[in-house]
């Protein structure tokens, strides 16, 4: 994989840590928020740590605006303190013995500004993130949302050219998360450099990121815009994240033979042979009897193996083939007497099946 040295961040490297290898190629343009999504242990934090200079790469190189940060082949390495990076850590890592203002002034001071200059830089960022009232407090006296803003202010006060956010909202309770998320989105929009945002929360990724990169097992599993990924997940993990049923199969005319058994009639398969089929759980109709023939082209028997209440609907886990997750209302569960073990019929319209080629991770 060769990439030109653009304005933004170019990461094309391997990081080996114990038995784990992260091998990823990615670019992030200036002003772009690239979301890194993946399960625990996928290598998201390792990637950030390599970009920040806390972990050297084992092979390949990292450049920012064409300048080398790390190059394993040439043996070049810029120490973490020498990289124009702002890092917001998962638990913020605010210095507990310094006040909020001193925390924010830390980076300007460490990067060589005088005491007075650093203080005024800090107060600029405190004002900008609406933290002026908290300037004299210690991190222990802050709420989660406030600590998150202080961490962001501290990272931005060093005037970084690259921003790294490691699960910036995961330490917050659900109540404040949405507010802080909206606020974070505003501040990220003001940032002119590339930004990498690590998260395992798909909603956070969809809201905050311009583009997503899904990491699984140290590799890029899928790359694309949030809309693309939400519509056409490439792996089971992504499908689960965005709440879709995903089937792999072989296209044959207007039909897709599914790898796990069963077949779907679809609207069109294009020229591809190996395809994926995505299906929304709410697009499937459940009947207790075999339905009358209708315009819906796919009908198959299934057995309920589980029911989960999700806010205002009930998610049914059904054994096929093909298996499916289906959302129905609690009223439907009662009226159709749905319970584990019940035999039902499922119906899905061909037009509700999203068919797309497999093995194309929309790499760009």
């Amino acid at each position: 994989m060769t990439r030109g040295d653009g304005d933004g961040l170019v990461f094309d490297a391997e990081v080996r840590r114990g038995g784990f290898t992260l091998a990823v190629g990615l670019t992030a343009a200036c002003g772009e928020v690239l979301g890194l999504l993946g399960p625990n242990g996928a290598g998201k934090s390792t990637l950030l740590s390599a970009v920040a200079g806390l972990t050297p790469v084992s092979a390949g190189r990292i450049t920012l605006a064409g300048q080398v940060l790390d190059d394993a082949d040439a043996g070049a390495f810029v120490e973490a303190s020498g990289r124009p990076v702002g890092f917001v850590f998962q638990n913020y890592r605010l210095f507990p013995y310094l006040t909020v203002a001193e925390n924010v002034a830390f980076s300007p001071r460490a990067r060589g500004q005088g005491r007075q200059e650093a203080r005024s830089a800090a107060s600029h960022w405190l004002d900008r993130l609406d933290l002026a009232d908290l300037a004299g407090r210690k991190p222990g006296q802050l709420s989660g949302g406030q600590a998150q803003r202080v961490a962001l202010a501290r990272a931005l006060a060093g005037q970084p050219e690259l921003l790294l956010l490691d699960e910036p909202l995961s330490a917050l309770d659900a109540g404040t998360r949405l507010d802080v998320q909206a606020e974070l989105k505003r501040h990220l929009a003001d940032f002119t450099g590339p930004c990498l945002l690590v998260t395992h929360d798909p909603l956070e990724a969809l809201v905050l990121a311009d583009r997503l990169l899904v990491l699984e097992g140290g590799r890029v599993a899928q790359e694309g815009t949030p809309a693309q990924i939400a519509r056409q997940p490439a792996t089971d993990y992504v499908a689960k994240l965005v709440g879709l049923n995903l089937y792999a199969g072989e296209a044959d005319g207007g039909q897709v033979k599914l790898t796990g058994g069963g077949a779907f009639v679809v609207a069109g398969t294009g020229q591809h042979r190996d395809v994926l089929v995505a299906l929304r759980p709410s697009a499937v109709v459940v009947s207790s009897q075999r339905p009358e023939p209708s315009s819906a082209r796919n009908t198959w028997p299934a057995k309920i193996s589980g029911l989960t209440l999700l806010a205002d609907r009930v998610r049914l886990d059904l054994e096929g083939p093909p298996h499916a997750l289906v959302d129905v209302t609690p009223a439907a569960v009662a009226e159709l007497s749905l319970r584990p073990g019940s035999e039902v019929w499922l119906t899905a319209k061909a037009t509700d099946l999203e068919v797309y080629p497999r093995g194309n991770s929309q790499a760009g």
Binding site: A80, R93, F95, Y97, A110, R111, A155, G158
Partner: protein
């Protein structure tokens, strides 16, 4: 199996067990008696000191020329050796905690050896190294005309030799358990290694640094064996408080007791200042 005969449980004991849980707190007799003997053994001598204290004449006993000189000498030498320990011991603790190199375990064992070494052996060793004919001392003597033994400098060296390991192990432990995430954060904020040490590492371990320094100072203040061996006991020159107490016991028991009380008071203050570190009922860390 049958139900055992009930014992009496007071309402108060019922409430305590209900609130805190757990079984009976009464101590079995085979443990109680030895425990009381241990308490008596540790506490009675101190009570004896308080009983025999010449309360009316303490001021006079302490203001004797020898006592005052010993007090002043002890205070400044202990403080100086603590300062030296901080300046050279903290960097060594950092090296031991944060780097790895061949022979590191051996080095750690060597620098902490004075903790278990009889102090008089330390004194002999210092004398053989820095004495007038010692393998370092002979050059100091012939090149610079410097003679260390039996001078206040020898007192400081003896105290540092014995006390610095206390500071080193305390600080090393703190460095090992400190969250290095803060140091990483500082690095991403542009701080170079020395700035990280100064502005992040040291403040993070400040409580342990303080505790280690107090411990080191207390150990230096009480030093006897290495000091009397390497520095002797010249009043005003090398006769520290513990040495003065030892000699005064024969000539002026009141002064000996008064000086002992001063040392006891200092120890109590040290213990109180270390209470968060030591008296929580946990381990030494």
């Amino acid at each position: 199996m049958t139900v055992a005969a009930p014992s009496h449980l007071t309402a108060r004991e019922r409430a305590r067990r209900a609130a805190r849980g757990g079984a009976s707190r009464s101590v079995p007799a085979p443990l109680l008696a030895p425990a009381l003997i241990a308490v008596g053994f540790l506490v009675l001598p101190l009570i004896g000191l308080l009983i025999r204290a010449p309360w009316g004449r303490i001021g006079a006993a302490l203001s004797g020329a020898d006592a005052t000189q010993a007090l002043i000498l002890s205070l400044w030498t202990a403080t100086t050796s603590t300062a030296i320990s901080l300046v050279i011991g903290v960097p060594l603790a950092w090296v031991l905690a944060r780097t790895s190199f061949p022979g590191q375990r051996l080095l750690r064992a060597l620098v902490t050896l004075p903790l278990v070494l009889p102090p008089v052996v330390g004194g002999v060793a210092l004398l053989l190294a820095f004495g007038r004919t010692g393998f370092i001392g002979q050059y100091l003597n012939s090149w610079f005309g410097l003679t260390i033994p039996f001078t206040p400098l020898a007192v400081v060296m003896a105290e540092t030799f014995v006390a610095m390991p206390f500071l080193i192990i305390t600080v090393e432990g703190a460095l090992r358990s400190a969250d290095q995430g803060f140091e990483e954060a500082a690095a991403t904020l542009g701080a170079r290694r020395m700035t990280v040490f100064r502005r992040v590492t040291v403040p993070l371990i400040a409580p342990s640094l303080g505790a280690g320094a107090v411990l080191c100072w207390a150990r230096a203040l009480g030093e006897f064996g290495a000091t009397i061996t390497f520095a002797g006991s010249f009043p005003g020159q090398t006769e520290t408080m513990p040495i003065a107490v030892y000699y005064a016991l024969e000539t002026d028991p009141d002064a000996a007791i008064a000086l002992s009380l001063v040392l006891l008071l200092v120890s109590v203050i040290v213990l109180v200042s270390l209470r968060d570190h030591w008296l929580r009922g946990g381990s030494l860390s």
